[in-house]
């Protein structure tokens, strides 16, 4: 579970659940999610905006990392929050609000990724994969042990190269594997939370992680 999300969600018991008078902005900004959601469900736009500000940094970060372009991430952001807004009246507090948000965001990102796979002609050129010559020139993983890639210019170049190769390797994953990997390793979410967000079991997520790791290992083996 992302730490910023935890920090933004005050304990449910910290504030009264029912607000009988309209609170000022400072009171609202300190309100817990439930209070804000209930006010937003009643048509309070400022409450909805506060909810957006509480979660949108993580949402945009996920979209940028997975989709890789500012334009697609921006589209995903808008689509997600408008969908959240449109469906807010359906939220019944049966799961954490961030889980519900992630469910919507991940579905939108998955749709983007699936569209790309089915329309490769619309995509920019993919970074080349590792050649057989490169594979034979040594073990990439051995060199990673104990190396600080940013400690000198040569290693900075190596760091950029590694980053480029990792990016290319991530492209080889299926949309679902990519999403699981992103949420686990770059968003810091636990497998159970990922399962909740993707509407599946922890076991299924675990299997996706195994497949993704195996593919990445194969892709990255033999890099210089």
């Amino acid at each position: 579970m992302p730490s910023e999300i935890i920090a933004g969600s005050l304990p449910f018991e910290a504030l009264p659940n029912t607000v009988t008078t309209a609170p000022g902005p400072s009171v609202l900004s300190a309100a817990n999610d439930r209070t804000l959601i209930e006010r937003a469900q009643a048509g309070d736009r400022s409450a909805f905006e506060l909810l957006v500000r509480r979660y949108d940094r993580q949402v945009l970060r996920l979209a940028l990392n997975v989709l890789g372009t500012a334009e697609d991430a921006r589209d995903a952001y808008q689509e997600a929050f408008l969908k959240i807004y449109r469906n807010l009246h359906r939220f019944r507090f049966e799961c954490a609000f961030y889980t519900w948000i992630y469910r919507i965001v991940t579905n939108i990102c998955l749709d983007h990724l699936r569209h790309r796979r089915s329309h490769p002609e619309e995509q920019p050129p993919i970074v080349r994969t590792v050649s057989s010559e490169e594979r034979s020139e040594g073990d990439f993983f051995d060199r990673q042990q104990g190396s600080g890639v940013h400690s000198d210019p040569e290693r900075q170049v190596l760091g950029h190269e590694i980053g480029r190769r990792v990016e290319a390797a991530l492209q080889s994953l299926s949309p679902r594997e990519r999403m699981v990997f992103e949420m686990r390793h770059y968003q810091g979410m636990k497998l159970r939370a990922i399962g909740d967000a993707l509407g599946t079991t922890e076991e299924t997520v675990k299997n996706s992680l195994f497949r993704a790791t195996s593919k990445l290992r194969t892709q990255l083996e033999g890099l210089r």
């Binding site: 736009r45 905006e49 500000r53 940028l64 808008q78 993983f141 990673q144 990792v166 991530l170 195994f210």
Partner: protein
């Protein structure tokens, strides 16, 4: 507690270990097994190295929106769409109109000047 650890199921456990998904007790079991089995120790070292390589990746979010200007722009567009549609329907929010209006703006200007 997960199933008993053998060389045959070590790789999956090593992946979970490197990902930080094992509880302390299961993690200790992995470490003990690796200390006693050179081939599994190599598997574990490989998984940890893979983790380091992946951590070296500069995340697109850092390069594409380091200063959070994109975040500010996204917020601005979203809130503007909410406000303009609220005004259009007499102060009451109308999500359906809001979405269709925003989509129209996006199609009209795909590079995305904010909706006016």
């Amino acid at each position: 507690m997960v199933e008993e650890l053998h060389c045959s199921n070590f790789e999956d456990r090593a992946i979970l270990y490197a990902a930080g998904e094992l509880i302390e007790e299961d993690g200790a079991t992995v470490e003990v097994h690796a200390q006693q089995c050179p081939s599994c120790a190599a598997v574990l070292a490989r998984e940890i190295s893979l983790r380091k390589a992946l951590a070296a990746r500069v995340q697109p979010a850092h390069t594409l929106d380091h200063s959070e200007l994109l975040l500010a722009r996204c917020r601005s567009e979203l809130f503007e769409a909410l406000v303009s549609n609220a005004m259009a329907v007499g102060g009451r929010l109308s999500p359906r109109i809001c979405i269709s209006s925003w989509l129209e703006c996006r199609h009209a200007d795909p590079r995305g000047s904010p909706c006016r």
